[in-house]
């Protein structure tokens, strides 16, 4: 079952007097239970692609479909879709500094309109599953890099999204913490059939994905079709 689909996406930027084509006719299908990795050199447009898939940016051409329905980042329903159907994990975790770990994880539920008590209870349960039961009431600056990224991952999963979009989730971590996060992603994908689209530079990690794409010179092509 196709959850997320990108059709003929194209994006270019004007850099002083020349136009840089970041994406040319990119196509991508994400089905339930997929673990898709996108690799490529720095600055090749991987994050741009992920932002368009996550309805954070609009393509110049082409379209993004969620469960067969075309949506754009500027549409009225985009915020609701981002909240309900998509989960995001960034390289720089982007936790809200003034909130505790459990409050950060509860945010998507609160935004969706759930009560504070229910949201906090669900967030605490999820964080405990991630081995962070001792860190629930710690602020982000009181957490290690790996813990921060696990909180970020929990926040992406709290609303049971159809797909989690992760932009180099281990890019800022040491190898040990990086392996922990990657293990968690693999486990969630295996046990819950949670779909992931992960951007990574780590070819070892990419090898464990169900499908790997490489983005080079604006062209997205499967590595192991």
């Amino acid at each position: 079952m196709t959850i997320l689909e990108a059709r003929h996406l194209a994006k270019s930027y004007q850099d002083s007097d020349r136009r840089i084509e970041v994406l040319k006719d990119a196509n991508l299908l994400v089905n339930k239970g997929d673990l898709i990795c996108i690799t490529g050199k720095s600055g090749c447009g991987k994050s741009t692609l992920l932002h368009m898939l996550g309805l954070l940016d609009n393509p110049d051409q082409g379209k993004v479909l969620i469960e067969g329905k075309e949506v754009s980042s500027s549409s009225k329903e985009a915020p609701q879709i981002r909240n309900r159907d998509l989960g995001f994990v960034f390289q720089f975790h982007y936790l809200v500094e003034d909130l505790t770990a459990v409050e950060n994880v509860a945010l998507p539920l609160l935004i969706a309109g759930h009560s504070k008590s229910t949201s906090l209870a669900k967030a605490a349960e999820l964080l405990s599953g991630f081995g962070l039961e001792e860190r629930l009431n710690h602020y982000s600056n009181q957490l290690s890099g790996g813990e921060q990224q696990r909180v970020s991952l929990a926040r992406a999963l709290i609303n049971k999204p159809k797909v989690v979009l992760a932009d180099e989730p281990t890019g800022n971590l040491d190898p040990e913490k990086s392996a922990e996060i990657w293990e968690t992603i693999l486990r969630l994908n295996r046990e819950l059939e949670q779909a992931f689209v992960v951007i990574t530079h780590d070819r070892e990690q990419a090898r464990l994905a169900s499908i790997t794409y490489e983005l080079e010179h604006g062209v997205l092509s499967p590595v192991n079709p």
Binding site: S47, H51, G54, L56, D57, P79, Q80, I81, R82, N83, R84, F88, F90, F92, Y94, L95, V96, E97, D98, L107, P108, I111, A112, R155
Partner: protein, 383 residues
């Protein structure tokens, strides 16, 4: 963020405090002046149209006036200008003669000396006493030019010696500087118009003071040969001027709050840029622009409102400090009274709160509109 926030709060507290103190002092001045004017002068003064009022006519009129339900006291008086002299120093004086067989309406202003006057004794104003160096028991010469005492050298004034029986202080500067109060008979002797008085003073009951103008018109209608002058006729323009000045001060000082509002704009912009990552996260997680704006607005507005209330308390403390200091007092010859007082009017405080809150909330709201233009993608790309 904390730095700009502290200055934002400080700016609001100071500007609202100055606005509040200014209005407290002005309201206090207005209230005190009104009280002093109402207490120091007749509420209605009745006189003949173009001459003195005969004692006979006054004696017939007084019981009728006393029977009026609005009237508290009636005093036949003799009022005229003269000069006083002490050891060669001459001072202008307003002589007022009262019938001390009747209750004296200004007894509470006798600060020193005897509670009542006999023939040959006077009460003098506090400032006149200090300027001429007079104390209770001293002698004072009253000089009054009399047209029937003309010699080849000119008008030969009448000179009368009185004993100072008490010092009078009403708070109304001009009166405290010139008043010489004596018995009605002594005043008639000085002016040499036996059988006549200059006017009848009416003091009204507190609840009827506001209706003095209406009552004076009714009296003139009943007694067409008499002129009835209400206190409002003499002082109406003064009170209107004071009220206008008060609101002028309110408007001018409100600009201070507006200037503090600019600090608020700058603090909100700083907070927005300081929290851009959080804003990006909230947008990414699907929060609507209104809820993000509301979240920031609610927190800053709450601090702003608390700062306004603190400012009002600071204004009250500031006005207390001003009235209790000793290095500045009002110039009585300019402001009529020489004492600074405050009055914390609930209406003024509500007006200050509402106007300040509106200004501050607008200043919080305006920069938050920029959140619409903050693109998530830019915020995420430039952490």
């Amino acid at each position: 963020m904390r730095f700009s926030f502290v200055f934002m709060v400080l700016g609001i507290v100071l500007s609202v405090g100055i606005l509040s103190a200014g209005l407290n002092l002005f309201a206090g001045y207005e209230r005190t002046l009104k009280a002093v004017l109402l207490d120091s002068f007749a509420h209605i003064s009745i006189s003949e149209t173009d001459s003195y009022l005969s004692r006979h006519k006054a004696d017939q009129l007084i019981p009728k006036l006393e029977a009026m339900p609005e009237v508290q006291s009636v005093s036949p008086t003799e009022t005229f200008s003269a000069m006083v002299n002490k050891d060669g120093e001459v001072h202008g004086a307003l002589i007022r003669g009262y019938d001390f067989k009747r209750p004296f309406p200004y007894r509470k202003y006798i600060r020193k000396g005897e509670p009542s006057l006999d023939s040959g004794s006077v009460y003098i104003g506090h400032y006149m006493a200090s300027e001429l160096g007079l104390e209770v028991g001293d002698s004072l010469k009253v000089v009054y030019p009399q047209l029937n005492r003309v010699s080849a050298l000119g008008i030969f004034p009448g000179e009368y010696f009185f004993r100072v029986a008490g010092i009078y202080r009403s708070g109304y500067y001009e009166y405290d500087r010139s008043a010489v109060i004596m018995t009605l008979e002594d005043a008639i002797n000085v002016i040499m118009v036996p059988g006549y008085i200059s006017n009848i003073e009416l003091k009204l009951k507190p609840e009827s003071v506001g209706a003095a103008g209406k009552l004076a018109k009714e009296l003139e209608a009943t007694y067409p040969e008499l002129v009835a002058q209400a206190w409002t006729q003499n002082n109406d323009s003064l009170f209107r001027l004071i009220a206008m000045e008060k609101w002028l001060i309110f408007i001018i000082f409100s600009f201070l709050v507006l200037i503090a509002g600019l600090n608020v704009v700058s603090a909100v912009v700083t907070i927005m840029y300081d929290k851009k990552n959080e804003i990006a996260v909230l947008k990414t997680l699907g929060a609507g622009l209104n809820s993000i704006r509301g979240l920031i607005f609610y927190r800053i507005a709450l601090v702003g409102i608390a700062a306004i209330i603190l400012g009002q308390i600071f204004g009250w403390i500031l006005s207390l400090l001003i009235i209790n200091q000793s290095w500045y007092s009002l110039k009585g010859d300019v402001y009529f009274i020489d004492q600074l007082t405050i009055y914390v009017s609930p209406f003024n405080q509500v007006a200050i709160f509402v106007v300040s809150a509106c200004l501050i909330l607008i200043c919080v709201r305006l920069p938050l509109r920029r959140i619409n233009r903050m693109e998530i993608i830019e915020l995420i790309r430039n952490p």
